[in-house]
Structure formats: structure tokens, C-alpha cells
Amino acid sequence: MKELSFSTFLAVFEEMFGRELFWGLVAAALLVTLVFVVMVVRERRLESRRFLRAELTAPLGAVLAMAFVFWFTNSGPANIGGPIDWVILAAIAVAGGGGLVMASYVLMGLMRRRRRARAMPAADQRPGPGAARPLANFKKAA
């Protein structure tokens, strides 16, 4: 290739998915990452139990990503030829696995927050030791 610059790269990806879909996907990925980061910063830590549970989805994400690429193209696992093919396949698996872990961590976090928010009046009457801090953080950040 002649000009293998970043702008060429973007132009090719815009053509591949269509401009709207491509930037939509980029925005979605950035949004999930951003929410993830914000969540970690606000909660002041990576909630280990939630993260562990989110991690359980990693194999599913990895398999789904690989299956999607094979389904989308006229190819299958038997076509893996040389080392670079394994690298690409691993990258696809890592992207799928990592993406799903992050998405489910964020989703579980949001769901918990909503549950907390609904349970707030009761929590105000009988404050439990664990509930007070995250709630305070939530108010501060908002």
C-alpha cells in the first residue's frame, strides 16, 4: 500500500461500514469505555466481585467475536494458515472477550445503582454500613 497513514485507515473503515455506522460503533465503544472509567473513578475502585462476575462473560465474548468474523466472511477455522492468522484470531478473541467484560461490568454497575436508587427511602431510614459511601459518592459526582 502506498499511503498507509491514519487518515487512509479511517477512510477505509468508513467505506467498510458506511460513515454513520462506523462512527456510531466508535462512539459506542468510547461510551462504554468512558462509563467504565467514570464508574471506576467514582466508586474509587474496581468492584472485585462485580468484575469477577463480568469476567465470566469473557469466553462467551471471545467465541462470539470469532464466530461473527467467520460468519460474516466466507471462511472458517480450517482456513487459519500461518502465525499471523493466529495472532489476528487471538486479537479478535481478546477484543470480543474484553469488550463484553467491560460492557457487562458497566451494565451490572448501572443495574445495581438503579436498584439502590429505588431502595433509597428504606436505606435512609436504616443506613447499612456498606450503603452509605457509594451513595455519598454518587451525590457528589452528580
Binding site: E15, M16, V41, V69, T73, A78, G82
Partner: protein
């Protein structure tokens, strides 16, 4: 928000603006300031090369008049023909929108055919009689498929009679897929040919051979099928190292080869193909025959003073300098794409490398300076070896391999990544090139 570092917003903005200004200042002047010019530029053909150069010149020049001549209303993505002819994509995959839609605002498209080029008077006349005077002429008419040169062949035969002809266009590529799949059910002898001329994508007849073998194997009929590739010369591919690799793969896959066999005639009723060989005429029976006709420059070029007189006799490619693509006798004329009289280079990937060269030399001439960019013969061909694998072959005038991803994507290895490039990345790259962005 608490996530942001504590930089006051106004300072952050100032920082950003400074960064942008710096980025702009370090860009080459040519990329930012268009060159003022009142030049009349005529481009013959709005295919891969004509469209790409128009999109780039519009950005480089301010005030020039750019006119394209092409009567074809739909843009064809020809590298996709091979996938259609294997039944992997529908014909609609290669009809890449309307010719007009790829062209930028500010250029004129004449839906007409160039009929005459007069380089002394610097004038092109179209079929309908419009005269176009030019200061610069870019010949990008592609090439002509000379089906008439194969005696007994007609395009109506394609699809039903054990005959394939994927070069003929989207519909014929689809019909070719029908013939291939019918053959894969029955078995028999498949004969695959290539012409004894320069041709666009010299890898395509080989890809088709590999794909036919793969389709027959998948259908479970490999034991009932003989597959034979007939080369026009003593080798399988013009680049020696690639030729050897193809020879080895053909050997592994049980694909037979015949050298110096040039298809001359067919007898569809008896299913016989007639070849010119060093030992005289030879007849081969077939159950599937893939026809690729001789290729030459279009009529308007053949009838003009532009072709080489002493090279490629009977093919009439435009006499240009190998490195600048400028005409050797008429300095205000350039040729890009399949019609250019250079060794190798008849692929869309070559067009991608040729277009910036011609752009540079043309704009330099307007500015009164010397052009700098040179074309090294870069040609590329993702050589499909089966559904799901390909070799990303790239080479130059000197028969050197010129891999885009050295040490990462091995050119002579059958890889899934190379297939992915062909199947999902090539068309977007091609489209980006048409827009002048790649």
C-alpha cells in the same frame, strides 16, 4: 467532572488550538493551498483511474476546468468479479453505484465516448461530435476485451454450456458461477486459459483455477474431475518466484498444467477447445472451459498516434515513460491504469500508486517545477488459493516482491488474513482510492 485533570477550560482550549496550528504548519504546503490554474484538463474514462485522478486534481487545483468523458453509467468494481464467479457474492456486489456519484462537484462528466484524439491540435472529439480542447490530457480508458478473437465463441454461450467468462462483466461472472457449480456436480475435465497478451489482473485466471478446484473438492467430486491450467508461455506467472510457488501449489492440489497453449477457437457443440501451441494446433475436450480473451487498448487509442510503435504489437498500449507515466512524445499527455504502456501494472492496486505520480507531475508542470514522484511498477494481486485463503502478492518492475507488511504478512504463504483483505478490505480500500483518499 472530577475525572478531568484540573486544567482551566480556557487554557485547555488554547492548548488544543495551538496543537492544531502546529499540525497545520507542519503539513506540506501542497496539501493545504490549492494551486491556482486555468488549465483545461480532459480525462478519458471514469473507471478506477479516471475517477481517482479527478478527485485528487479537484483538491489540488483551483480554477482548472476538469472534464471526464465516459458513457458507462455504472461503476464496476472489477476485482470482485472473481468472487462473483465462484458464487460467493451476487452480481450486485460489483456494481459499485453510478459513475457520476463517485465524481466530485466541480468536474464535468460527458456521458459520451471519446472517438478521436488529435495530439497535435490538442483536441478530443466525442462520438456525438463534441470537440474538447485541452491543455492536459489523461488517458484512462482501460482496455478492450477482444472476444471476437476466439473463433466460435460468443457471450451468449456463457453459463449454460460448460463455458465461463468472468472477465465479461457482473452478469457473466454470475453465469460463470452457474457453469462452475454445474461442473462441480458432474465432474469431467475443466480447462482454464489465459490470453497471450498483457492483461488486467494476470492473477485472476489462476485464482479461478484454484477456486474451481476447491469448489469441486467441497462438492465431493474431486476424484471425478481433471483440472488443467493452460498458460500462454513457458511459466505460470510473469514474476519467477510467484510462478514457482504457483507451480508447487498446483502440484499439491493435483492441478495439471499445459505451457504455451493459447486458446484460438472453440466448438461448443462438441465441447472442444482449439489451442495454438509450438507444435501446431491442439484440441482439448472440456466439460468446463474458462475463456479469457486477448486484450488491447480501446479503439480510440488504437486509431490515435499515442501507442508504442515497436512494443506490444497489436495491443496498442500508450507510449509513456515507465516512471512518470507521461507520454514520451506529447508531454501534456499522461496515461494511467490498464491502457498505459508499461510492463506489469494492470491492476487497481497499481492505479493507486500511479495516480499520485501523475497528479504530482501535472501540478508541477502547472507550477513550472519538476515533478518528483516516480512509479516503480507496483502491482498487487491477492492470489486466492481456496475459499478462505489467499497469498498477498505484491511486486514491481524488477520482479522484486514488495510486501506492504514485511515480516508480518508473508507474501508467498496461503493465509486467512490475506483472504480477509481480499474479501472485506479490498473494496473499501478501492472505494477510498476512487474518492482520492487512499
Amino acid at each position: 467532572m472530577s475525572v478531568l485533570p484540573a486544567v482551566p477550560r480556557r487554557d485547555a482550549l488554547r492548548l488544543l488550538a495551538g496543537g492544531l496550528a502546529l499540525a497545520a504548519a507542519t503539513q506540506p504546503a501542497s496539501a493545504t493551498a490549492p494551486v491556482r490554474s486555468s488549465a483545461r484538463i480532459v480525462v478519458l474514462g471514469a473507471g478506477a483511474a479516471g475517477t481517482a485522478i479527478a478527485n485528487r486534481l479537484v483538491r489540488r487545483l483551483d480554477g482548472a476546468s476538469i472534464t471526464l468523458v465516459d458513457k458507462r453509467r455504472e461503476h464496476l468494481y472489477q476485482p470482485g468479479f472473481s468472487l462473483v464467479a465462484a458464487g460467493l457474492k451476487p452480481a450486485s456486489y460489483v456494481v459499485d453505484g453510478r459513475t457520476r456519484d463517485w465524481l466530485p462537484a466541480g468536474v464535468r462528466l460527458l456521458e459520451d465516448e471519446a472517438a478521436e484524439i488529435d495530439p497535435e491540435a490538442r483536441r478530443v472529439t466525442t462520438r456525438s461530435g463534441t470537440a474538447l480542447d485541452y491543455d492536459f490530457l489523461i488517458v484512462a480508458t482501460g482496455l478492450e476485451l477482444n472476444w471476437g478473437a476466439i473463433e466460435g465463441f460468443s457471450l451468449e454461450l456463457v453459463g449454460e454450456n460448460g463455458i465461463g467468462a468472468l472477465y465479461a462483466g457482473p452478469e457473466y461472472a454470475e453465469r460463470t458461477a452457474r457453469a462452475v457449480h454445474a461442473f462441480a456436480q458432474k465432474g469431467g475435465t475443466a480447462i482454464l486459459t489465459r490470453p497471450n497478451t498483457e492483461m488486467k489482473c494476470a492473477g485472476a485466471p489462476i485464482k479461478h483455477t484454484f477456486l474451481v478446484e476447491d469448489i469441486v473438492t467441497t462438492a465431493g467430486k474431486r476424484d471425478d474431475a481433471e483440472i488443467v491450467y493452460c498458460s500462454n508461455s513457458k511459466v505460470l506467472f510473469s514474476v519467477p518466484i510467484v510462478s514457482e510457488k504457483v507451480r508447487m501449489l498446483f502440484g499439491e492440489r493435483g492441478i495439471g498444467t499445459r505451457y504455451e497453449h493459447v486458446l484460438k477457437a472453440i466448438d461448443p457443440a462438441r465441447r472442444i477447445a482449439v489451442f495454438d501451441t509450438p507444435e501446431g494446433k491442439k484440441e482439448l475436450g472440456y466439460d468446463y472451459l474458462h475463456v479469457v480473451p486477448p486484450m488491447r487498448a480501446p479503439e480510440v487509442v488504437r486509431n490515435s498516434p499515442l501507442p508504442w510503435a515497436d512494443k506490444w504489437k497489436g495491443q496498442y498500449w500508450v507510449e509513456v515513460d515507465q516512471q512518470t507515466l507521461r507520454h514520451r512524445r506529447y508531454p501534456e499527455i499522461f496515461a494511467i491504469g490498464d491502457v498505459a504502456g508499461v510492463p506489469k501494472g494492470k491492476t487497481a492496486a497499481s492505479v493507486k500508486w500511479q495516480v499520485p505520480v501523475v497528479e504530482d507531475h501535472l501540478v508541477a508542470q502547472i507550477q513550472g517545477r519538476e515533478g518528483r514522484e516516480l512509479y516503480n511498477g507496483y502491482t498487487s494481486c491477492p492470489l486466492i488459493t481456496r475459499v478462505g485463503r489467499a497469498m498477498l502478492i505484491e511486486f514491481d518492475y524488477k520482479d522484486n516482491l514488495t510486501p506492504s507488511f514485511p515480516g508480518v504478512i508473508a507474501p508467498l504463504e496461503e493465509l486467512w488474513i490475506s483472504w480477509l483483505m481480499k474479501e472485506i478490505a479490498l473494496k473499501p480500500t478501492y472505494n477510498a482510492m476512487l474518492r482520492g483518499l487512499a
